[in-house]
């Protein structure tokens, strides 16, 4: 959306982050393409409601989700991140999901340390048939993030890929 009234960047910066009651947090969900992505597709086709601010990124395996990616998402102002992988023992690539669990635990500690709140990041295991659980987890995560409020790092939008202003 383009703001025509006044300087866009200055006006937006003054606005303090606040959480109106209907606020929908921005969430990035890393979905393993073998389980969670199918579960998300199934949730969609079954018309199961999940929060509107959810953006899904498909990965070949949750073991591929790098720590930088999650941290970068938070840096760019995402309110919450969910990593959804296969059930324990069900990883297509043997134990990618367990590695993802270790990494998310590590990042949660970092988030706590810098005062962002570790609860903003969650790792969930589910199978490709668990569409309702998928939707439930998203609802639950959104609720948790709502109580935490918006990401304090949220700044006026600037695409990093477009370079410095």
């Amino acid at each position: 959306m383009i703001a025509f009234d006044g300087g866009p960047s200055g006006a937006l910066e003054k606005k303090a982050p606040s959480a109106p009651p209907s606020w929908q947090p921005d969430m990035i969900v890393f979905c393993c393409s073998y389980c969670a992505h199918s579960a998300a597709a199934l949730a969609g086709s079954r018309r199961l409601p999940y929060p509107a601010g959810v953006r899904i990124i498909s990965t070949p395996c949750t073991g591929k989700v790098e720590m930088e990616h999650i941290l970068e998402a938070f840096e760019k102002g995402v309110d919450g991140v969910l990593v959804v992988g296969c059930l324990e023992g069900g990883c297509h690539f043997v134990e990618g999901n367990l590695r993802a669990r270790k990494r998310t635990d590590r990042i949660r500690a970092i988030l706590d340390e810098i005062g962002l709140g570790g609860e903003r990041l969650k790792m969930v295991y589910l199978s490709d048939a668990m569409a309702s659980l998928f939707a439930e987890c998203l609802q639950e995560a959104a609720q948790t993030i709502r109580t935490l409020g918006p990401n304090p790092l949220k700044t006026p939008l600037r695409k990093e890929s477009e370079g410095e202003p």
Partner: protein
């Protein structure tokens, strides 16, 4: 295992088929057979494996394009119900070999109306071995029918928690009922065998009759189920292929890759995978052979685009990727840099996320497009 089987339930002569198969294999000019050999190590990639075998104490190198695992299994040994301590307690396969021309059991000699009791699921479907061995019920029904054919006045009882003659073999269960074979269903722990002055006594609670019964068998036959091959755990270590909790080899995916191991170019069939009937084993073996031919028939192999690549300038040869790759795709090459062997890479990206110097990149999943994607996703977010 097939050597102990005389005939299938459907009446196929197993021995004749086996002899013909062994002859065809042994006399084929392009098949090399290594008997009594162990796999010491294996390296390479689909279409280009090198294995070192231990053949009678000396190491032999073999080059091959694929691996098919058909390590079979064995009848489980047991010490329950006086097996090994009482002459008249034998296993189902011992009974089979007796019926196929072996020496008859002394307990039966000269008798025209012996009582033969069979106990199903011995050391099977319990806490230790929870799986069903699939073949034992049909095997018991087959041997019961054969005993009834030879000694019509004999009494044959089959004691079990459940009976399941899989698939169309149900017909033979019906036939056994018609021939007068008695099936006694009992609850989990309501069966006991005691020895009374050298004579076996079976105490069992008959669910159908609603009361306990005592049987005095001349011969007690135990169906002990199928155990995985003893070499499975050693072999799984060499091949880096997972075993199931039951000790059989785990397929890559039960529906999408049912005859493949997780590693590319390696296949499995038969009891190495799970207990199964001979006809099912043959069908599975055909499937494994067909999948293997898909690799062997090609002069060149194509690699999927989803593949990890190492930037040698960044690599410090820490071997993190070598250690954690589930498929053994990365190696440290002669230049002391990690290198991903394309044919073995499945594109899971485990090495990408774990590489401490960020030298590995998964093609089509690079970092820059990811950053851009994140920006776009946030810009198009409806909440702003």
């Amino acid at each position: 295992m097939a050597r102990n089987i005389r005939i299938t339930l459907e009446g196929t002569d197993v021995g004749a088929h086996l002899d013909q198969l062994i002859h065809a294999t042994a006399s084929h000019p392009r098949i090399k057979v290594f008997l009594k050999s162990d796999l010491v190590r294996i390296s390479g990639q689909p279409g280009d494996f090198t294995s070192v075998l231990n053949v009678n104490g000396s190491e032999t190198r073999v080059e091959h394009g694929v691996v098919i695992l058909a390590t079979g299994g064995q009848e489980r040994s047991t010490e329950q119900y006086f097996h090994g301590r009482h002459r008249d307690v034998i296993t189902q396969s011992k009974l089979e070999s007796m019926l196929s021309g072996g020496p008859p059991h002394p307990a039966l000699s000269g008798k025209s109306d012996p009582t033969i009791a069979m106990i199903q699921c011995v050391e099977s479907r319990d806490a230790k071995n929870p799986y069903c061995s699939r073949v034992c019920c049909s095997e018991a029904v087959k041997n019961a029918l054969e005993i009834k054919r030879r000694l019509p006045h004999s009494r044959v009882l089959i004691l079990g928690r459940d009976m399941r003659t899989y698939g169309f073999r149900e017909i033979y269960y019906q036939k056994a009922l018609e021939q007068g074979v008695e099936f006694i269903r009992h609850p989990d722990d309501a069966l006991e065998v005691v020895e009374n002055e050298g004579r076996l006594e079976v105490e069992v609670y008959d669910v159908a009759a609603g009361r306990g019964r005592t049987i005095l068998p001349d011969l007690l036959v135990l169906s002990t189920g199928i155990a995985p091959a003893e070499t499975n755990s050693a072999l799984s270590g060499v091949l880096r292929s997972a075993l199931t909790d039951d000790g059989f080899f785990q397929e890559a995916h039960p529906k999408l890759r049912p005859v493949e191991l997780a590693n590319e170019g390696e296949f499995l069939c038969g009891v190495a995978h799970s207990p199964r009937f001979m006809d099912e084993t043959i069908i599975q073996a055909h499937a494994a052979a067909a999948r293997a031919s898909a690799i062997l028939s090609k002069a060149q192999l194509e690699i999927v685009g989803h593949m990890a690549c190492v930037n040698p300038a960044e690599c410090v040869a820490c071997a993190t990727c070598v250690r954690l790759c589930p498929y053994g795709a990365p190696v440290i090459n002669d230049l002391r840099k990690a290198e991903v062997r394309g044919a073995m890479c499945m594109g899971c990206g485990s090495c990408v996320a774990a590489c401490p110097s960020r030298a590995v990149v998964l093609q089509q999943q690079e970092r820059e497009p990811f950053s851009a994607m994140l920006d776009e996703l946030l810009v198009s977010g409806g909440s702003r």
